[in-house]
Symmetry: C2
Subunit: 141 residues, 2 copies
């Protein structure tokens, strides 16, 4: 069962990346369960799919002239995804990422590197993200 | 059931704090399940209770003269613990912390602030940590 369940979990990560590339906050939110919890790299949180969408909209649609980063011209690459099943319907997922081209306060943020930490759960037949945290990692040149 | 299960989960956090205060890497490791996964604020990982113990030993016993921080004279405070049950036997736990007095490369690291992210699971009658990530948060003065 678990090998089969890896596929839909990897599809969640792929759908997130694709939504970021398309700057589509709504599509991004769809991978989350309705009651999901999101925490960003600065410890800011959003509860629920709708709030997660609204949280990400300025990142994807803004111009980065202020403190909220803009990912409009950024490129995000998910490098490595590790899935560990804690229960048949609960998985801990770590995905490392790099991003270039993000803009904050009008300046290019340079190469960013980070770790997405998900708890994916299966509700009925569908896997979705119940909890997601994101963290920055040090960039080694 | 969940209210009763909050107590042993909070006890895990308390036991971790106490082990840090006593500089006891073994006691620290005991809150983890045998096959637990740990990731630190720099994305470094340790798999298994024994490896988690050895990972933390230099932090608790070292002198901080090199790049590995020393918490020997540090004070750790867990500020706020939020528990969310994803299943009756699986909980997502976020705990914010502050630390003062850590030393790295011979220098005081100043005020640190961070977020511990746990997935606690119940095996038989016992709660333990299956997955733990730690991240630094920006310190606002």
């Amino acid at each position: 069962m678990q090998a089969n369940d890896e596929k839909p979990i990897r599809a969640l990560i792929a759908a997130m990346s694709e939504a970021f590339a398309k700057l589509d906050a709504h599509a991004f939110s769809i991978v989350f369960h309705e009651d999901a919890d999101f925490t960003n790299v600065w410890g800011m949180t959003a509860h629920g799919r709708k709030a997660i969408e609204e949280f990400h909209r300025p990142l994807l649609e803004g111009d980065g002239s202020g403190p909220i980063p803009s990912f409009k011209h950024a490129e995000l690459k998910v490098m490595d995804t590790r899935i560990r099943f804690l229960r048949p319907d609960v998985a801990s997922v770590d995905a490392t990422w790099t991003q270039t081209g993000a803009v904050q306060n009008g300046h290019d943020m340079g190469v960013r590197k980070g770790l997405l930490m998900l708890i994916a759960t299966k509700q009925g037949d569908d896997w979705g993200i119940a909890v997601m945290h994101n963290m920055d990692l040090p960039v080694t040149k």
